[in-house]
């Protein structure tokens, strides 16, 4: 079958859309109050916890813990489950907490039950040691008591929350844009070697589609920034570099339209395309790594690996890249055919 890749692209796009939107997020802790407690003064301590995507009311055994720096767990003595996503945890902490180096320490909050598994909020609650009785001992649980439930869900990340799904759109679109640009560069080089005008039209249609993808990537990125960083546009280095990259390719377009002779146009456009691609690499890949950036992979942030892209995300992310790239190739092919027809109509 000749057009298998078009069908594959449609299938992958559908897969990305459906799976990307329907797979739930892992449970997590959304909010809690108070954020600062003093032990030894007002015991017991009540903490109101709002969770996300949990089934606290259906679970048989809910537990709330505070984790100390050396992995000792303080268990809540009593829980009031308000709804599926709301619980009040009462702690009784009579004595000094073990392994406190200073008088003040931030403890990690953990909620778990047998249905959802555990969810945690690192360095959540700031604990200050008040007038505790040095003779009293607290009871501690170990990490083994925490229940783990394996299920297929996207990771729950603070700040990102549901917007982590944008990985399949924003990041994947940019990836495939780069693949299209590389392919377009290949055609430009081919034109310079063979002087075959066919390669030139292919290269130009690929660049047009890549430019379109670039705009789509900027728009999705801007929406993402609105919900995570607070504004549509930040002064982040990578954003400005990407905008510049788009300017470069708009300029390519202008260059093409300003030269009337076909052969000259093809030659100049091919040279500029290669030149621009190398500069684009410097712009987007090299420069941002020298300065601080909010993007992963820059300024010490982790990139595509470790915690940011877990296996659940990968199962959608990589097919999404392939899907977008095939879609882009398809669009470029249509654009190329259109230019062929137009040239024929003009009598070339």
């Amino acid at each position: 079958m000749k057009n298998w890749w078009k069908i594959l692209s449609v299938f992958l796009m559908l897969y990305t859309l459906i799976a990307g939107f329907l797979i739930p997020l892992k449970p997590g802790i959304y909010d809690f109050n108070p954020r600062k407690i003093t032990i030894g003064e007002s015991s017991p301590i009540a903490i109101l916890i709002n969770t996300y995507n949990t089934r606290l009311d259906e679970a048989n055994e809910n537990n709330v813990y505070l984790k100390t720096p050396a992995d000792n767990l303080l268990k809540a003595s009593r829980l009031e489950v308000k709804s599926s996503n709301e619980v009040i945890a009462h702690f009784e902490i009579p004595g000094l907490i073990k392994d406190f180096n200073t008088k003040e320490e931030s403890l990690t909050l953990i909620v778990d039950n047998e249905l959802d598994g555990y969810s945690f909020y690192p360095d959540a609650i700031n604990v200050i040691i008040g007038n505790t009785d040095p003779l009293l001992e607290n009871e501690y649980s170990s990490l083994n008591e925490i229940k783990e439930v394996e299920k297929f869900a996207f990771p729950y990340r603070l700040i990102l929350y549901e917007t982590i799904r944008n990985t399949f759109f924003h990041v994947a679109i940019w990836f495939s844009m780069f693949i299209l640009l590389i392919y377009s560069c290949y055609h430009s080089v081919r034109y310079l070697i063979t002087k075959d005008l066919d390669s030139d039209s292919r290269s130009s249609s690929l660049t047009t589609v890549a430019l379109f993808f670039g705009i789509a990537g900027i728009l999705t990125g801007s929406m993402w920034a609105r919900y995570t960083w607070g504004t549509f546009w930040t002064t982040d280095i990578k954003l400005n570099m990407s905008a510049t990259a788009l300017l470069v390719y708009f300029a390519y377009w202008f260059l093409r339209s300003s030269i009337s002779d076909i052969d000259t146009r093809a030659r100049i456009a091919a040279v500029y395309n290669i030149f621009a691609f190398v500069c684009l690499m410097i712009l987007v890949m090299v420069i941002p790594r020298f300065t601080d950036s909010l993007h992963p992979g820059n300024g010490g942030n982790p990139a595509l690996g470790g915690e940011d892209l877990d296996n659940t995300l990968r199962t959608i992310f990589y097919p999404a890249i392939i899907g977008y790239t095939l879609l882009g190739l398809w669009m470029a092919q249509l654009q190329y055919r259109y230019s062929l027809i137009k040239d024929r109509a003009l009598g070339y």
């Binding site: 300003s258 000259t264 100049i268 040279v271 500029y272 190398v278 420069i287």
Partner: protein, 203 residues
């Protein structure tokens, strides 16, 4: 070869003096990072001004003559050297102008000059090459700025950063690596220009 066009350099320098004068009259005394920013923007526009004419002003007959006489690489290097010295002179003049108008000198002249040399080289190498592309189009001047400015932003940004460091406006231990990076970009620009000039120039 290009030395005949002395008046064009003088015109660019006059342009530089005028625009600096206007800017200092409008803004009053400029200090801090803005000063460096304005310095580089002024230098950039002067460079566009200087470089944009370099391939185009040749009358077509003279071009034919050059075409027979020289290799395209020689032409490129010759243009590069003249443009570089012109823009570099403009940069020096700009330093003097800033000194005259705002009465504060450079804090680390050596580092500043190093940056000036390297970034000027990068700017000129990129622009000279791109101006050889624009000779085929009808509106050369504006096309050069559209094509070249986005491509030269990395050079400009690193240059600006290092010169801020040289003015003690912020501290960065990675100055040397930034300079090396600048040199690397310069080399990439030069090599690409040398490779492609034979394709673009022969028409």
């Amino acid at each position: 070869m290009d030395a005949r066009d002395k008046q064009s350099l003088l015109a660019s320098l006059l342009y530089l003096v005028t625009i600096t004068f206007v800017i200092f009259k409008v803004f009053g005394d400029i200090q801090g990072p803005t000063r460096i920013g304005i310095y580089w923007v002024l230098l950039l526009f002067t460079a566009v001004n200087i470089v944009s004419g370099c391939f185009g002003t040749n009358a077509s007959k003279r071009k034919l003559y050059h075409y027979q006489l020289y290799d395209s690489l020689e032409i490129y290097l010759a243009k590069l050297i003249t443009n570089f010295s012109k823009v570099f002179i403009a940069g020096l003049v700009l330093i003097v102008l800033f000194r005259v108008f705002s009465d504060t000198g450079l804090k680390d002249p050596v580092l500043f000059l190093k940056t000036l040399v390297l970034s000027t080289l990068g700017l000129v190498a990129g622009m000279t090459f791109i101006s050889s592309l624009t000779i085929y189009s009808s509106n050369q001047g504006s096309l050069l700025s559209i094509l070249a400015l986005p491509l030269l932003i990395p050079v400009l940004m690193i240059g600006m950063k290092v010169s801020l460091v040289s003015e003690n406006m912020f501290f960065d231990t990675a100055v040397d690596s930034n300079l090396l990076m600048l040199l690397g970009i310069d080399i990439i620009m030069l090599v690409m220009g040398m490779v492609f000039i034979s394709i673009t120039w022969k028409a």
